[in-house]
């Protein structure tokens, strides 16, 4: 059975060019970049090239890029660095809809005596700027706000927030894992001090990430040890993966505009097809201001895990905010923060596309989904009356 992959916000397929760029660094060029000999030294030069490629994608200087093991490490490092370099300050501002890499890290700090403000979002998942302004005080160590939400794709006004914080000289970090490679990001125009990106969301492998740290930002390393990464992140470099990330960034930088148009067209077709053919379905999140690849749709009266497993029968991969799929029995914290009704949260399905999706795949989802929803609603004790009048067309 073919895999129809619509879960690219979870992870992406490694691009062939990326894999090809990596392989020699397992087999042939296995030297340690810190070594004195040419054999190792040549690897060091390749890492610096990768650094340039990553920097180029986000408009940074190469020495503003630190390679890490993943997005989570970058997020943790950014927050910890701000705290370590601002010892008297005990206040952190973030949002209720962050990725667990930021959210749970902040919750942990909350237990260690830090005061954390979790900013609310409105029913479309948009940040409420007023509550942000109210939360700012002199005790602020760092503000960490995601650039785009992984579940809904909603984009936050990072530039606006950055300008407000710049005046007050507060360290500002953004988790840009979901937006880098999907929309243009340029730190030259973006007043952030630190920015997180991750390899496996942009067709590089899992296990590699980067943290952008603007020149002049006070920095304290999170992983302590050797002098790698200019003393900012210890541990022998994950050479092949760094080179892979560099390649993935190079490809993204080259093809981003083309990809935006391609992916958005497919996403819009998918969304329109599902909404037109399934009654009681609605989009979660601000449709005007979200990632071009993401669609989060709630199908009322059905449960997300059941939908995913029925889709799975056709080889279609998606994800859900339903409690049953979380492993924690808790429904999506993002949709809850948005005030989405419980009935709709349990029936939420996220489709996230990439450059590798095809129009036929979208057609297939539009073809099978109405039947799945109709079938599960016939099993469900809820919403049957409505179903009788307004059937899913199959």
């Amino acid at each position: 059975m073919n895999t129809l992959y619509f879960d690219n916000n979870a992870t992406t397929q490694v691009a062939q060019e990326v894999l090809d760029s990596m392989l020699p660094y397992f087999r042939d060029y296995y030297g340690n970049p810190s070594s004195m000999h040419t054999f190792g030294g040549q690897v060091y030069r390749r890492i610096e090239e990768a650094r340039e490629q990553v920097a180029l994608l986000i408009g940074a200087e190469p020495d503003e890029i630190i390679f890490t093991s993943c997005g989570t490490e970058s997020d943790n490092t950014a927050i910890m660095s701000a705290i370590e370099t601002n010892p008297p300050k005990k206040h952190i501002i973030t949002t209720k809809v962050e990725h667990p890499a930021v959210l749970n890290f902040c919750k942990n700090l909350g237990r260690k005596g830090y005061r954390v403000t979790y900013l609310p979002v409105d029913n479309k998942g948009r940040l409420e700027i007023e509550s942000f302004l109210r939360a700012i005080d002199d005790d602020l160590a760092i503000v960490s706000i995601m650039y785009a939400n992984n579940e809904t794709g909603v984009i936050f006004p990072i530039e606006k927030i950055g300008h407000i914080l710049k005046e007050r000289k507060v360290v500002f970090h953004t988790d840009a894992v979901q937006i880098v490679g999907k929309l243009p990001v340029n730190v030259k125009d973006l007043p952030v001090d630190m920015l997180t990106l991750s390899g496996h969301k942009i067709h590089a492998p899992k296990g590699i990430g980067a943290l952008y740290v603007r020149k002049g930002t006070r920095f304290y390393p999170y992983i302590i040890g050797g002098h790698q990464e200019n003393g900012r992140r210890a541990g022998t470099e994950n050479v092949a993966f760094i080179i892979g990330l560099g390649k993935a960034c190079e490809i993204a930088a080259k093809s981003i505009q083309k990809e935006i148009n391609f992916v958005k067209k497919l996403r819009d077709k998918l969304e329109k097809g599902l909404l037109n053919n399934c009654p009681d379905a609605s989009i979660n999140g601000d449709r005007e201001n979200r990632l071009p690849n993401t669609s989060n749709i709630s199908f009322a009266f059905v449960e997300g895990e059941a939908v995913l497993l029925r889709l799975n029968e056709y080889g279609i991969c998606a994800s859900s905010g339903s409690a049953c799929t979380s492993g924690s029995l808790e429904p999506s914290h993002v949709l809850r923060a948005m005030g989405v009704r419980n009935t709709a949260i349990h029936g939420s399905v996220r489709f996230s596309l990439s450059r590798y999706n095809q129009e036929e795949e979208v057609n297939k989802v539009i073809e099978v989904m109405p039947g799945i929803i109709k079938d599960l609603r016939l099993i469900s004790p809820f919403g049957r009356e409505r179903l009788m009048g307004k059937r899913c067309s199959t």
């Binding site: 909350g110 895990e305 339903s322 049953c324 924690s328 029995l329 419980n342 099993i379």
Partner: protein, 278 residues
């Protein structure tokens, strides 16, 4: 991805006996749409032999909830009401070749719907779940249910209770209470009592300091995590006066929050503490 057996997959993809019997002789409803799973079974029973002639179900829930319901209706058909009474949640799980631990609550839900249906058949008054003492407010799980499930399945840890009933699976504020219930279930004599023993009497100053400390270190961070906050206004003897701030002001769960703060303070400071809103 859950590790479902082929049997679960089969009953999920091809559920048997979906629907609703017209003019049923017994109806059992359990759960609600807010929890994420709900089940309704309807039975047709031969009034003379008390044999179940037909059983149908409707389920809102995940794959294992649908499969559990489907299996339950299969198990019921042809059995007398008396025989049906003997079907346990473990029977449902066994029939499916087992369920992931976290999904055991789906089989429990089947067993509960069956109980409701039998009570309904016998013409007994339907028990109203909400009148029982609710331990887990997030998933609406009663103390009675926790006790029952613990005994029936020989559950001894809080984690097992969460896997079987969901209780304590969300906010976690009832985990202590579940532990106390478990202690009570499995120790024969020790009466259920959350440990409150404060051997020596605190001075007023010590008491005030302790209350402040608990509010600052434990209560406020938890509320702030959800966008809320609380302010200590005054302490008059054993009366702790607080004011809700931020998101707590408009939160409909205010009463529960107040109660949980009181519980915490009683646990640590003393049984006599009372928390009131300004």
């Amino acid at each position: 991805m859950w590790n479902y057996t082929e049997k679960v997959k089969d009953h999920f993809l091809h559920p048997r006996n979906v629907g609703e019997i017209e003019n049923p002789d017994a109806v059992g409803i359990i759960g609600n749409i807010v929890c994420g799973d709900a089940l309704k079974i309807t039975l047709k029973v031969d009034k003379k032999t008390h044999k179940i002639i037909d059983a149908k179900f409707q389920t809102f829930g995940c794959a294992s909830a649908i499969a559990s319901s489907s299996v339950l209706t299969e198990l019921l058909k042809g059995k007398t009401i008396e025989e049906a009474q003997e079907i346990s949640n473990q029977d449902i799980a066994d029939y499916l070749g087992g369920l992931p631990e976290e999904k055991m609550h789906c089989s429990v839900m089947g067993r509960e719907a069956l109980e409701e249906a039998i009570k309904n058949y016998k013409g007994e008054i339907q028990p109203i779940e909400l009148q029982e003492k609710i331990v887990c407010k997030c998933f609406n799980v009663s103390e009675e249910k926790i006790r029952k499930v613990a005994q029936e399945n020989h559950l001894t840890t809080v984690e097992e209770i969460t896997n079987f009933t969901k209780a304590g699976g969300a906010c976690g504020s009832c985990l202590g209470e579940i532990e106390a219930i478990l202690k009570d279930v499995w120790s024969i004599k020790e009466p259920i009592k959350i440990e409150t023993s404060s051997p020596k009497k605190l001075t007023n100053l010590q008491k005030i300091a302790l209350i402040q400390d608990i509010l600052e270190r434990e209560i406020r961070p938890r509320l702030q995590a959800d966008g809320g906050d609380i302010e200590l206004i005054d302490i008059e003897g054993n009366k702790v006066i607080v004011g809700f701030r931020a998101m707590c002001v408009s939160c409909p769960m205010g009463g529960i929050t107040l109660k949980s703060i009181e519980d915490k303070l009683r646990e640590v400071v003393g049984e006599e503490i009372m928390v009131v809103e300004e």
